[in-house]
């Protein structure tokens, strides 16, 4: 770990030059990052905007409903700016977004930004919990399966993984509710809290576990945990299945390499070779896998959110799409874009920690 720091230090002049160059390089990287961010957002909004305008649903209908008369319909159409050329509509939208105004959602009668601030934390809480469990269980399981290829731990992990991968989440959610909530009563039902616990905690982060813990409302915390466990476990199962499968195949790949044999010849135990030699080498691809799985959960798991009446981002975006509520769809898409870019950047950062080759230059 310390080798890269040690190499070019001996002369002070050398060092200043290096840090100057490093600063420049960091500046370049940051500039490039911001540019790619801007281009991605522009592309995302453009594609979403134009798709939104070309789907065969009349956005005015979402506002006024089917029974409205002609005058109301026309007035609303004009108010929404739908009479203007589509390019003009897009430019107007962009200008507003740059000013921090994502518009108002038709469905919720709230500014889209306020909506995102309530719906995203709900999804964030669920996705983060699921990913933590997915990693904690999935990685060791995958590694063990890969190391024991063809033997019983491998079969167990593979069968469970396949089941997790191929069972419809909708079904699993309902069965889970039926068994653990309906029959056994181990977990709470749908939604984020029971009725009696609503509105006790003031919203700060929107993540109930954090808010309730910060305010010392342990009853609410407990209730929130009860509501989180089941949807969290089901999503964890999915991400676990994926992570374990990938970890297994990465591991099999590494264990076939010569350096592992060399380590064994030098007297390393089998598990020592697996964890100390092979495992560090699967970290980089594994981070990519975990990052992608986390990002896809943060997008919102629509079906899980529907079964568990979870007011999350996935359902918000889906609902808005069905209602041609374009401001909400665009806002949601921007969040999803930001999540992907953020997670990519974070993964890049982790690569540098785990891959010595990326640490230099």
């Amino acid at each position: 770990m310390s080798s890269s720091e040690a190499a070019p230090v001996s002369r002070s002049g050398f060092r200043t030059e290096t840090s100057g160059a490093r600063l420049l390089r960091l500046g370049h990287q940051l500039g490039f990052f911001l540019l790619s961010l801007a281009v991605t957002f522009l592309g995302l909004t453009a594609v979403t905007f134009f798709i939104g305008r070309f789907i065969p649903v009349d956005p005015v209908l979402a506002v006024v409903g089917d029974h409205a008369n002609h005058d109301v319909y026309e007035k609303t159409r004009l108010a929404m700016g739908l009479d203007r050329p589509i390019i003009v509509q897009y430019v107007i939208y962009l200008k507003k977004v740059l000013a921090g105004d994502l518009g108002e959602s038709v469905m919720t009668s709230q500014p889209v930004l306020a909506d995102l601030l309530t719906f995203f934390p709900a999804t964030f809480e669920l996705a983060t919990l699921a990913t933590i469990f997915g990693v904690l269980i999935g990685v060791p399981a995958g590694v063990a399966a890969g190391a024991q290829k063809g033997r019983w731990p491998d079969h167990v992990v593979r069968v469970l993984g396949l089941f997790g991968y191929s069972t419809p989440v909708f079904w699993l959610g309902l069965v889970g509710l039926f068994v653990f909530y309906g029959k056994l009563g181990w977990v709470a039902g749908t939604g984020r809290l029971d009725v009696g616990y609503d509105d006790i905690v003031t919203t700060r982060t929107g993540v109930l576990l954090i808010d309730s813990a910060l305010q010392g409302e342990w009853d609410v915390f407990r209730n929130a945990v009860g509501h989180l466990i089941l949807p969290g476990a089901i999503l964890a199962y999915y991400s676990l299945a994926y992570i374990a499968r990938m970890a297994r195949s990465f591991m099999i790949d590494q264990l076939g390499q010569e350096y592992v044999t060399a380590a064994r010849v030098k007297g390393r135990s089998f598990w020592g070779a697996v964890w100390l030699h092979a495992f560090p080498n699967i970290m980089v691809p594994l981070i990519t896998v975990i990052g992608l799985s986390y990002a896809s959960l943060l997008e919102g798991a629509v079906l899980t959110e529907t079964v568990f009446a979870w007011p999350g981002l996935g359902r918000y975006i889906t609902q808005s799409l069905f209602n041609a509520d374009m401001n909400a769809v665009l806002g949601g898409t921007l969040v999803v874009g930001a999540v992907f870019i953020g997670i990519n950047a974070f993964c890049d950062f982790l690569y540098k920690i785990f891959d010595p080759r990326l640490r230099r230059a």
Partner: protein, 528 residues
């Protein structure tokens, strides 16, 4: 920091794994599981979705009203009495004395006038309910006035039967808004609209405490309510989209009432002593529309044949049992002036003879747009199979409802299946939709159902116009019955069913009032 985190994690783990007892619903709170994602506004001048209207029925009093204690009789709400001038154009309402809004402000005739005027001036979806009386932005201040605190005077410029005017004032736009509170929150001359979209300023049994879209609505009792403070002080409507999850929550006692159970689920609960199920007929009509832009449907015999090729009873007795009842005329059963005869039943021979007469002995092919949701998909498949028995080959096109309506309003369909709900409790609402068409051109301003199906409805339009003006109530009733009989023969519709709701409640819950429309669902008499 790390140390704190460790304790926090430990605490988290402990509570997570400790056996958790989940509470029953709080004693003073009625918890209702319902799909409320249709709710988009709580302003009575704008709300036009079923959930929105239901919440408003409980948080605002109206000028005229179907009272919670008797939802079959239209009586005065904030109005104690009313009189009509001899020409039937001017109505004078006496406002009850001593009434108060939830805010404590007295309910006055000015509030009532303000409420009606703001509906017209805001010009949102339900404005047509009142604008059909001849009110416009320019004349409404003159036609709707409050000469003193207890007198509301309204004048209509159209010839409308008084019973229709009363029905309109009992609909959501007849909600009386606390004008002082609305004005306090007024911004840029919006009559408080931006605030009232998510808050309430009424005198109904409840006050709206919060509305979290796609999540919940919380109501709290209004001690000033005319009918007395509600028996349960809090009502929570929880959005649980999945009916199976609603059923589980009801069985566990986490909710007191589940509103969206499927018939299967309701049947599954029949042995459960803790749950009681009631069927409540609704005013929604499910129908097949035939567009006269498709040349085959221009022949009334073909439309008649289609009506004979639907197995109404077969469906109602099997997969729609508990969900639908057969109803074929345009005004739902159980309402004043409904026509309850169902002349059509599946008869392939009769249909084939009609098709032969019309020049289609071998039938024809046609597209049918259908919403891609329950129960439409099942009904559509059944209709497809029975129409095939008469030689009509139906190609089903499943779509998202909003996309389907967009197509319907542009009359680009051939056949289409959808439902229709009344706007208020008077047959004119449906007659106007199904049987009234004053301009059948493509550029017409109005898009009633008759227009959408390119049906000129010349005679039926005249009949509708006559019925709406008829001031003799008995004669008016007969007019509507005649109209319904006529449309059954001539219309471009095969009306099939009237829907039924399954209301599932915990058996300790009593007094919940659910009528045939969202205007008459009341929470305030409920006990548990």
């Amino acid at each position: 920091m790390i140390k704190h985190l460790k304790y926090a994690l430990l605490a988290g783990a402990l509570v997570a794994f400790a056996p958790t007892a989940f509470a029953e619903t709080p004693k003073d709170t009625l918890v209702i599981a319902k799909q409320i994602d249709d709710l988009i506004s709580l302003d009575p001048a704008e709300a036009y979705e079923l959930s929105g209207i239901e919440v408003l029925a409980n948080s605002y009093d109206r000028i005229m009203r179907f009272e919670p204690t008797d939802i079959t009789k239209l009586v005065g709400g904030v109005a104690e009495s009313n009189t009509v001038s001899d020409d039937g154009k001017t109505f004078t309402f006496k406002i009850r004395s001593g009434l108060k809004f939830a805010s404590g402000n007295p309910v006055t005739a000015q509030d009532a006038a303000f409420s009606l005027q703001r509906v017209i001036k805001l010009e949102k979806t339900p404005v047509f309910l009142l604008s059909q009386l001849g009110w416009t932005k320019d004349n409404v201040d003159k036609l709707v006035t409050a000469p003193d605190d207890s007198t509301l005077k309204i004048t209509i410029t159209e010839d409308y039967a008084p019973s229709l005017v009363y029905a309109l004032l009992s609909s959501v736009v007849g909600s009386v808004v606390d004008s002082k509170v609305a004005k306090e929150h007024e911004k840029d001359g919006d009559f408080g609209y931006n605030w009232l979209k998510t808050n309430s300023a009424g005198g109904g049994a409840y006050v709206i405490k919060s509305w979290k879209a796609n999540d919940s609505v919380v109501l709290e009792g209004n001690p000033n309510y005319r009918g007395g403070a509600p028996k349960l002080n809090r009502v929570v409507l929880r959005h649980i989209p999945e009916p199976a999850a609603q059923r589980l929550a009801l069985e566990k006692g986490d909710v007191d009432i589940a509103r969206n159970l499927t018939p299967d689920q309701a049947n599954g609960l029949s042995g459960n002593k803790d749950v009681a199920i009631t069927s409540v007929p609704q005013a929604l009509l499910y129908y097949v529309a035939m567009n006269l832009k498709t040349k085959e449907f221009q022949d009334p015999k073909v439309r008649q044949a289609v009506r004979y090729l639907i197995d109404y009873k077969g469906m109602a007795d099997t997969f729609l049992k508990g969900k639908m009842q057969v109803h074929q005329s345009l005004w739902a059963s159980g309402f004043w002036a409904s026509y309850d005869e169902n002349p059509y039943s599946f008869d392939a021979d009769k249909a084939k003879a009609l098709l032969k007469d019309a020049g289609y002995p071998d039938g024809f092919s046609v597209d049918m747009d259908v919403p891609n949701s329950d129960p439409f998909t099942n009904i559509a498949q059944n209709v497809q199979s029975t129409l095939a028995k008469g030689g009509i080959k139906v190609n089903l096109i499943p779509e998202e409802t909003k996309a389907l309506l967009t197509k319907y309003r542009a009359r680009q369909h051939q056949m289409l299946m959808i439902y229709w709900g009344p706007d208020y409790m008077d047959p004119h609402t449906n007659a106007d939709g199904f049987a009234h068409n004053t301009d059948n051109s493509d550029g017409a301003k109005g898009h009633p159902l008759a227009w959408r199906n390119a049906w000129p409805a010349e005679e039926e339009t005249k009949m509708t116009d006559a019925a709406v003006k008829e001031r003799d109530t008995e004669k008016r009733k007969q007019d509507y019955i005649d109209l319904q009989k006529k449309v059954l023969e001539t219309g471009p519709y095969a009306i099939m069913f009237q829907s039924t709701d399954e209301l599932a409640q915990r058996s300790n819950v009593k007094g919940f009032v659910e009528g045939p429309s969202s205007d008459v669902v009341y929470y305030n008499l409920t006990t548990k």
